[in-house]
Point group: C2
Chain length 300, copies 2
């Protein structure tokens, strides 16, 4: 049962969303060896209201490859990518990094708790992501491949490296190629991994996996352009984080390099290319196409 897609509400299956929330809640339960304040801060950061785009992408990729019965076995991968996403936000928001005080409409983790807690929350979520994959994906050999895939997307050559370069680029002029290289690692890698993990969890063919990864690459790129556009022209109450911060931190963005109109057109073209990449899936990939269309026109 899909909600009617509007520019405000993503075309996400409500039952699927509930499944993801329940899995995230369950995976963020800890025994008494985890201090209660740390557990609370982990859940504060992981369970904050979010679109859960990446977990949805995992489950939709699994379904596109293996049909409805492929969804449940892929849930650990959906949880793991959201944990990586949440950890990266908590660490990126730290004073030594992007120094943000608002995230998903609430105080950032280090504002709500303290810096030490926020560092440990990120470490705990990053670690738990691999535990969830390693224990939850079956068989074990597939779980190991999922761990490899996620580690490569989250590591120094992708997410972490992209964040380092993003910080280094503050108050410097960089060109389009460098901007794209940063976003490909900082945002794109986890989008691509989400699709690849879904395909892998569903034991999809190599061809299916490649098509979905190309979809993820184009979608991630479009997502980042729209994110840059929202930072310029969005409404803070909708977006749930401080806006105009790219300019304040001297960050080159797509609109600052290409202008607003060209950025919009580029995002739109990327969405088209994403949808073309998964044409061969036919109706099985229709939810992925609707999600892509939403990403292209989202306002938060």
């Amino acid at each position: 049962m899909s909600a009617a897609p509007t520019s405000e509400s993503p075309p996400l299956d409500a039952a699927r969303s509930a499944l993801i929330e329940a899995a995230l809640r369950q995976a963020s339960q800890f025994d008494a060896n985890c201090p209660s304040q740390l557990a609370e801060a982990i859940r504060y950061s992981l369970l904050a209201p979010g679109k859960r785009l990446r977990p949805h992408l995992v489950l939709l990729a699994a379904e596109a490859c293996g049909g409805p019965q492929a969804v449940e076995p892929a849930i650990p991968a959906a949880v793991a990518v959201e944990m990586i996403h949440a950890y990266s936000l908590v660490h990126d928001d730290l004073p030594a990094m992007d120094d943000d005080d608002l995230r998903r409409g609430r105080p950032t983790c280090h504002k709500q708790f303290d810096e030490a807690t926020a560092i440990l929350v990120g470490d705990a979520l990053l670690t738990r992501a691999f535990e969830v994959l390693a224990t939850g994906i079956q068989p074990g050999e597939r779980a190991a491949r999922c761990c490899t895939l996620l580690a490569q997307a989250a590591g120094a050559e992708a997410l972490v490296g992209g964040q380092a370069d993003d910080l280094a680029a503050e108050f410097r002029h960089i060109g389009l190629e460098r901007l794209q290289s940063i976003h490909r690692r900082k945002t794109g890698a986890l989008f691509r991994a989400s699709l690849a993990l879904g395909a892998l969890a569903a034991d999809g063919s190599g061809e299916q996996g490649q098509a979905l990864v190309l979809f993820g690459e184009k979608l991630g790129h479009a997502f980042q352009i729209v994110d840059d556009l929202l930072d310029v022209s969005g409404a803070e109450a909708n977006v749930g984080k401080r806006l105009g911060k790219d300019r304040r931190r001297g960050k080159v963005t797509y609109p600052s390099l290409l202008g607003v109109e060209t950025s919009r057109r580029t995002a739109s073209e990327l969405i088209d290319q994403a949808c073309q990449a998964i044409e061969s899936f036919g109706a099985a990939a229709q939810p992925l196409r609707e999600l892509a269309e939403f990403v292209g026109r989202r306002s938060r």
Copy 2:
């Protein structure tokens, strides 16, 4: 060829040490997607001179279970535990945590580079540890079990939770039970995991694994008591980190609770218990016993 054990030099096989260093160097190579300064900071933190106790424990456990030919297949696990150890030191040293400026005789990562880099170095090492395990341990099903084991030892219910409680205990009186609970998670868990990973990588029996984990538990406990003793009475030039800092940070320690003499005796008893735990291995565990004796009398 073992060096003659003295109180200064650990009884570690020199060829084995060289093998570990080479594996650490190889595992900390990154392609051009990792910014060069980040790669340098990762290697600065991982390759800093260290005893590599944990990697040696992994390899000795593997050898005790499977003989000399079991060593090589366990190397990825040895690398992974050292990466987790190095990451935890980098994050623990941050200003928001223990705020240390000296580590392994050199400026801490955030002093040598900057705080943002140190946060990212820790994140990258933590992530790489799982990549190394997932790709390096064979077969894949065993790699997944190794990832589970390491994630549990490094996560919110162990290492990360122990660090959170350790910070919370500053300038508060805690009793022996609470102190032990902190150390069991902050130090002991990774010692236990090192032994367990070695046994698992070598496909040891359940009984072998249990004996080795008990050895690791006693050894880790003794290690922490000796660490506390060194903080009171060691020589900074030997130990390679600031001393007297437990008192300055208002931390309860074994000597502050039990006195120096009782702490020494307790550590010695724990070493005896560790050695008893692996009696059934006979000569195959002799290097582990020598390592345990060294931990009991080390001065750095």
